[in-house]
Assembly symmetry: D3
Homo-oligomer: 256 residues x 6
C-alpha cells in the first residue's frame, strides 16, 4: 500500500464560505500525497461552543461518508473540537483524524508538557475534557486563549499573531509548557510567525499547526496500513432513522 499517491480529504464543519481556502489545503500536498477539501452545507458559521460543536455533526458525518465514496484514503476534520470524530468513524473504514487528538499526541511525543492556545476562554473545558479522554491530562500544562472570535482572527492578523505569541510565552513561563498547539484550525499558517516570536524571547519550542500535522499523521496511518479499531467503532446497527435523508442513504447495512 505504501507505494501509491495518497489522497487526504479535509472536511470543514462550518458553513461560512471563503474562510477555508482550497488552495491552502492543496499546498499541504507533496510528491506522494494530495489534499482536497469539502465543506458542510447545514450547520454553524463557525465553532466556538458546545452547541455549535454538536450541531455541525450530522452534515459533517455526511461529508466524511462522501469522502470515502470519492476514494479518499483518509479524512481530517477541520476543527479543533474534533466534531463528528467518533460517530463518523463508525460510518467509514478509512482513517478519520481529529486535529485536536492528533496534535495532542504529537505534542506529547515532542515535549514534556504542552499547552493549547485557543480563541475563546469558554473552550477551556472542552479541551480539558478531550485531554482526559485521550488519556493525556497529565501532559497538558494549560489551555490559554486570545479572546478573538474565529471569524475575526484574520481581521488584524498581526494582532492575532502578537496575541498568540504572548499567550504561548505565558504558557511556557507560568504553566510549564514545553510545546504549544494552536487551539483553532483557523490559525493555519501562523506557526512560523509564532515560533519566531517565541525565539525572540529565547523560547525554542515546537509550535504545532494542527491541520498540516493532522494531514501528515493521516498519511502516515495510511502508509502504515492502519485505521481506527472496528471494535471501538463498529458500524451502527441497522435501524430506522427519522429525518436526515443524506445520512439515511449513507447508513451501512449493519455488520452483524
Amino acid at each position: 500500500m505504501s507505494g501509491r499517491t495518497i489522497h487526504v480529504r479535509v472536511v470543514s464543519p462550518i458553513t461560512t464560505r471563503g474562510f477555508r481556502r482550497v488552495e491552502d489545503l492543496e499546498a499541504l500536498g507533496h510528491e506522494g500525497m494530495i489534499v482536497s477539501g469539502s465543506q458542510i452545507d447545514e450547520g454553524p458559521g463557525s465553532i466556538e461552543c458546545e452547541f455549535e460543536t454538536a450541531i455541525c455533526v450530522p452534515d459533517t458525518i455526511a461529508k466524511i461518508v462522501e469522502a470515502e465514496r470519492d476514494g479518499a484514503d483518509a479524512v481530517v476534520i477541520d476543527c479543533m473540537a474534533d466534531p463528528a470524530l467518533r460517530p463518523a468513524r463508525e460510518m467509514v473504514r478509512i482513517p478519520v483524524v481529529g486535529p485536536s487528538q492528533a496534535a495532542m499526541h504529537v505534542a506529547a511525543m515532542l515535549g514534556h508538557r504542552f499547552s493549547v492556545v485557543t480563541v475563546m476562554r469558554r473552550l477551556r473545558a472542552q479541551f480539558e475534557n478531550a485531554a482526559a479522554i485521550h488519556g493525556l491530562s497529565t501532559r497538558m500544562a494549560s489551555v490559554r486563549h486570545v479572546e478573538i472570535p474565529v471569524l475575526e482572527l484574520e481581521d488584524d492578523l498581526d494582532a492575532t499573531k502578537v496575541a498568540l505569541v504572548e499567550q504561548a510565552r505565558l504558557a511556557v513561563e507560568l504553566d510549564g509548557a514545553e510545546a504549544v498547539i494552536f487551539g483553532c484550525t483557523g490559525l493555519l499558517g501562523c506557526a512560523g510567525a509564532v515560533r519566531e516570536g517565541l525565539l525572540a524571547h529565547g523560547i525554542d519550542i515546537p509550535v504545532i499547526d494542527p491541520i498540516p500535522t493532522a494531514v501528515n499523521i493521516a498519511a502516515a496511518l495510511v502508509r502504515s496500513g492502519l485505521s481506527h479499531s472496528a471494535l471501538t467503532f463498529p458500524a451502527p446497527p441497522q435501524k430506522e432513522l427519522v429525518g436526515y435523508p443524506k445520512l439515511r442513504a449513507a447508513l451501512p447495512l449493519a455488520a452483524e
Copy 2:
C-alpha cells in the same frame, strides 16, 4: 424556592413511539413534584452507538429549550449516553441532568466502586469516556453488558432480568463493584427485581435505576437553588446557523 411544587420534564431522545410510557414517568412524581415527558421527532429509533448518540442531539436540544419555555423547573435526558447534555446547558438556565452523570455520582457516594450494566458491548468505551470526564474513572469497577438491543429488552423481560442479575453478580465477584447502575434507561422499573436477585446470591448492594434517581437529583438541585455553571456553559455566541429552523428560533441573543 423550596416550598412550591417542582416540575421535572423527562425528554426522550429517540423516535420510537410507545417505548417510553408517559404513565411510567408520571408515577415518579410525589407530593411536591410532578414529572412530565416529551420525545423527539427526528432522530434514531434507539441509541446504541456513537452515531445515534450524535444524531439525536439537534432535536433533543430543541425539546429541552421547549421544556424551559413550558415552565419546567428541570430537565432529565432519557438516555444513558447523556446526549445533548452539554450543548443544551448552553441554551437554557434550568438544570439539565444526564442520568448517566447523576447515577455515577450517586453510586460513588453510596459504595466504594460501581459497575455499569448496559445493553451492548460496544457502549463500553462511551461509558469509560464519560467516567473520565466526570472525574470518576477511579471509582468505576467495570462496564458489563447483556447483549440485548434496547428495543428488545421487553421482549422477554424475565430473561432480561436474569441476564442483569448475572452481569451484576459478576461485576461484584470479579470486578470489585460494590454498587451497580443500569446502563440503559430502557430498564426503568427493573431495579427491585435485580436487587432481589442479587440478595438471593447474598449480595446486598444498591441497584441504581437511572431515571428515578436523575429525576430526584434534579428536584434536589431545584430545591437547593442550583443549576449548571454559566461559566462552564455560557449562552452560544450570536451567529448565523444554516438549517435547523427549530433551533434557530430557540437561539438566545448572545449574552455578551
Copy 3:
C-alpha cells in the same frame, strides 16, 4: 416509598450550644420533607483540625444511631470534614450523607472544576484527601480559606461575606474554578450574598451551601429507595468494646 413525608435529621458534631439554631434547620423543610436536628454531648467545641475531626466521632456515631431509632429517614452530618461518615454507615441502614462528599459530587455535576472556600489554611490537606477518596481530584481546582475560625464567623458577618467573595473570585480567576463550595457548614445561609457578590464581578457560577444541598440530596436518595452499600459498609463484627457505653448499647448483633 416516594409518596410519604421524609424526615431528615441533621447531626451537629460539636459541643458548642447555640451555634447551630434548630430553626435554621427546620426552615430547610418543605411540603413532603421535614428536617430536625441533634447535637453531640462530648467532643470539641468546633472542628478545625484532624484531632477535632477524630475526637467528635464516637458521640456523633451515637447520635446517628439515635436518629435511626427515632425514625429518621436519612441523616446529614453537620460538618464539612464529614466526621463519622464511614463508621456510622456501618451502624445504620438509613442513608448517612456527608455534606462535603455530597457538595463535591453536586459541584462536579454543575461545573467543570470546583473550589472549596473554607475557614483555615490547615484544612487544605483534609479537603484534598477527601477529593482523592471521592475520586474527584481532577475536578477540584483549589482549596482556599478566609482564615477566620469557625466560632468567629458570625462576629462580623459582613466581613466574612466579603472575604468569601474575594476568595471565590480568586478561585475563579487564578485557579480555574467554575463552581464554589463553602468549606464550613457554619456558613449556612451565606450563599445568596456570595453569589451576588460574585455577580457584581461578572462571575456567574453556582455557590453551593453544603447543608441545604446535602439535606436535599439525602431526600433524593430516600425517594429513590437508595442507601449506602452494605458491601462497602457491612455491620461491625460482634466483639467486646471497652468503654463507650452508649456505643456498646448501639452495636448491632453481627450479621454473620
Copy 4:
C-alpha cells in the same frame, strides 16, 4: 543526633490483652535501637472495620502523647488501618509512623506493584482509600484477604500461613503483584514462612512484615533528623473539649 540509642514505642490500639507480646516487640531492637510497647485501655478488642478503626482513636492519641512524654524518639501504631495517625501527628513532634503507610511506600520502592493480603474482605475499601491518599493507587495491584478474623489468626497458625501463601501467589499470578504486604499487624513473624512458601512456587518477591519495617523506618527518620511536617500537622487550636479528660490534659497550648 545520629550517634545515640533510639527508642521506638509501638502503641497497640486494641484492648485485648496478650495478643501483642512485649517480648516480640523488644526483639525488634538491636544495637543502637530499643523498642517498647504500650496498649490502649478503652476501645475495641481488635480492628476489622471502619467503626473499630474510629473508636480506638481517642485512647490511641493519648498513648502516643504519653510516649512522647516518656521520652520515646518515635512511635509506631500497631494496626494496618493506621488509626490516629493524622490526629496524633498534630499532638506530638516526634515522628508517628503508620505501618500501612510505611509498608506501602517501602513496597513501592522495592517492586513494580504490590498487593496487600489482609484478614477480611471488608477491609478492601479502607486499603484502597489509604493508597489513594498516599498517592500510590497506581502502584497497588490488589487487596486480597484470607477471611480469618484477627483474633483467630493464631488459632491454627499453619492454616493461616497456608492461606497467606495462597493469596500472595494469586496476587502475583492474577493481579500482577511483584511485592506483598501483610494487611494486619497481627501477622508479625509470618513473613519468613510466607516467603519460603512463595519460593516453593518459584516466586521470589519481598514479603513485607509491617511492624518490623515501620519500626526500622521510624528509626531511619530519627537518624535523618526528620519528622512530619508542622505545616500539614500544626498543633490543634486552643479550645474547649467536653469529655475525654486524658486528652484535655494532653492538649498543647495552641502555637498560634
Copy 5:
C-alpha cells in the same frame, strides 16, 4: 520543506549481525521517502532487560549523532525499549522517534485501549513505566508476552505468530484491548499474519507493527516541520567526559 525526499535512518541498538536486514528497512520507503539503517558496535546482542537497555545507550547515541551528520532527516530507534531516546534528543536537532512511544500514541488515537504483546514477562514493568511517562497509563489495557527470547523469534516463525495471535486474543477478550502493539521490533513483518489470525476469531482491530509506524510518523514530523522541544531537550552543558571517545567527539559546544 514538505516537497523533497525525506531520509529516515533506523538505528539498531544491538550488536548481533544479520538479525535486522537492511533490505527490510529499505522496503519501508516509498516515493518521497527513503529508509537506511545502521547498527551499534558495542553493547548487548539483544535487549530483554533493564541492564541491556542501559548498556546499549552510549553507542546508540553515537550512531544517532552520526545519522544527523550523514544528513538524515529523522532517526528511529530499532527497539521497543526506546533506548537512548531522551539523551540522544539532547545531542541532535532532527526528530528522534522511539517506536514504543510512537506506537502507543498511534494506538491511543485508533482504539479505546491498547495492549502490548511482547517477548518476555520481565518487560512488563518497563512498558508500564513507559506508558506512565507518556501519560497513557489509562489507555493501556495490559502487557502480555509470548515468552520467546528475541533472538529465537525466527527459529519457528509460525509458532511465534500463533503465540502472538493467542496473546492478542486474550488481550482483547480478558483485558479489554481494542488495539494491539507488538512489544518487540524483531517482529517486523508479522502484523499481517497476526491481524488475519485475529480476524479468524472475529476480532477486527489494528495490529501495530512498530517500525513501519515509527518510520512513517518520523516522516510526518519532518513534513510538518516539527522536532522535539529544545526546552525539554536542550544541548548538554559543556563539560569534561572521561572515556567514550566517540561521544566526546560528538558533544556539541554548549549552547549557553
Copy 6:
C-alpha cells in the same frame, strides 16, 4: 540479621575528584552502621542532563557490583537522577537505593505535598517523570531550581543557601509544598541552614537531605531483611556483550 553492624556503600556516578569527600560519607555512620564510598572512573564530570544521566550508567553498574563483592549490605547511588538504579538491581541482590526515589517516598510520608528544589531548570521533566514512575505525581507540588550548576554549588555556599531558602519558600507559598527535597546530592549538609532559613519566614517543614535519608532507609531495609523484588528485577539473561569488559566479568550466570 538485625543485630550486626551494617555496611552501606555510597557510589558516586561522576568522575570529578574531590567533590564528594569520603569523610562526609563516613560521618553518616553511627553505632551499628558504617558508610563507605566509591566513585566511577569513566563518565561525566557531573550530572545535569539526560545525556550525562545515561552515560554514567555502565561504570556505575560496575561499581555497584563491586560493592556487593566487597561485602556491602546495601548501596546508595550518589545522584538525584538515580542513574543505574534499575539495571543495577538486576545485577545484585543487596538493596540498591536511589536517593530521589527514597526521598520522594519519605517526603510523601511526612507532609501533604513535597517540592524538589534542584540545580537547573532543565531537570524538571526528569523529576516529574520519576514521580510518575514512583506513582507519586499527585503528591509532588512542584520542581524548582536555583540555576547554579552542580560543580559551582560550593563556590559561594552562602549564596547557594540563600537561593535554596528562596525557592523552598516559593514552593510553600505558591505551589502548596509542605515538605522540601534537595534535588541534587551535591547539597549534602545544607539541610540545617535551609530549615533555619525557612523557620525565619515562619515556615516549619521537613527539609530532606537525600543522601543521609537514603543511607538510613537503606539500613532500614537491611534491618528488615528486605531487598528489591527479583520478579521486577530478575538477573539479566545469559548473552553475548560486545565491549564493556568490566561488566562482562560481572554478569551473573543467567538464573534460568
